[in-house]
Symmetry: C2
Subunit: 251 residues, 2 copies
């Protein structure tokens, strides 16, 4: 935890992002053009110590070494971090820019999977997110690792209906934001949790039937007003962290 | 509550925003150019029923009536909503676009006051919010009333240091997001609550001394990673609503 503490961020050690699975002791970790550019801008060069994350659980410290005209990282200590319990946000596929920002926030909040939902009422949103935007979202979610210190980037899954998400992630406990719902109940630290966040105008009665009848989603109160999707998503994720931490009594 | 329910938003009744304090029975409520434009675009005209909010606690139903080439609203029923207990977010004055989006989210989440904090580490942010942006934020916070149904727009206060905020709002219970903190404690439904959200790099030791020594801020855990200011702000607001709702046992 000390590696990623708030005061750590001010300590001046740069964090670089490696391709998933490439952070191995004894192997020079190759950095992509964006990372090399970032180091040049920050005037960080050979011989300096950097933190390394790969967005897939690797967390390491290494030293920059020259490799031709580029730099590689020689790993000096690595501390892989176990994959956290599922925290899935299934969010009505609304405005693409707000969705991209949400992808970043998901990594900050430890959301494991963000899935754009193709809902009846999001089909009419002109600026809605589409398949072609998903790679940009994946990049935003991975970039956020450097800022927030999370060694696990949120996985951005392809568009899917609720039933498919439930098959991909069995054993999830589903929650549904609703001004008529109750306070979020306690969950265990390792309970898989999913939130269904509707599009503008909400889920249709048919979609609610799937959520409540098939997925047994519990209605949770997130305040008395109608939240936009990214506010509901962040509130749901924050409450989940809170409940998981209370569930085990001690972190 | 039925007026602002999620299903209400899909029912087709338009919400218009009036100037604060102008929503009075028996007086035609004058709408500004933006609102009149919005009605024209939505093809809503004389004789139709609208909801009216003024961002300062008025919540009413009225009928559009012609007034020369414009429209006014004749109020048919009004139900003023009491000002909620203080929920103040004092947020390091970071990027202006992200701050503007946060202003909207504050109204959605029932934040009563958003104050940009002039902190030592936010002074170096090139794109930071400045005095000249505050009017735009106020407009965003008021516009959000229509979307979310909150009759109280978040008040955007001028830049202030922590001590001045505390003098403006005495009796606040202060919280500080910290990965080393504890779960947020219970608060009563009518407790005034304030969150201090640091800039990128966090508060300086001197600023923390004011927060903890003078304002007795309690450190609260919002997850293990470093949150950007708008994620921390939304998470803090969501937890506050949750704790206030549990505090009274029943909403």
């Amino acid at each position: 935890r000390r590696l990623v503490g708030r005061r750590g961020a001010a300590s001046g050690v740069i964090t670089v992002l490696a391709a998933p699975g490439t952070v191995l002791p004894g192997v020079g970790v190759v950095l992509d053009a964006d990372e090399l550019h970032h180091l040049r801008v920050r005037r960080v060069g050979a011989g300096e110590t950097v933190r390394v994350l790969d967005g897939a659980g690797a967390r390491a410290i290494g030293t920059l070494e020259p490799a031709g005209r580029d730099l590689v990282v020689q790993i000096t200590s690595a501390e892989p971090v176990e994959r956290p319990a599922d925290l899935v946000l299934a969010v009505g596929a609304g405005d693409k820019d707000r969705f991209a920002r949400l992808a970043e926030q998901c990594t900050e909040l430890g959301v494991t999977h963000l899935v754009p939902l193709d809902t009846e009422r999001s089909r009419h949103v002109e600026s809605r997110i589409r398949d072609s935007h998903l790679d940009k979202l994946r990049k935003r979610a991975r970039e956020a690792c450097k800022q927030c210190g999370n060694p696990w980037a949120t996985v951005i899954e392809p568009f899917a209906p609720l039933e498919v998400i439930a098959r991909r992630h069995p054993q999830l406990r589903w929650f549904l934001a609703d001004p008529g719902g109750h306070a979020m109940p306690a969950v265990a630290a390792d309970d898989g949790v999913a939130w269904a966040i509707g599009p503008e105008g909400g889920f249709t009665p048919g979609e609610l039937e799937v959520l409540q009848g098939t997925l047994h989603a519990e209605r949770v109160w997130l305040g008395p007003h109608i939240l936009r999707f990214e506010s509901a998503a962040v509130a749901g994720a924050a409450l989940t962290l809170d409940r998981r931490a209370s569930g085990v009594g001690d972190r």
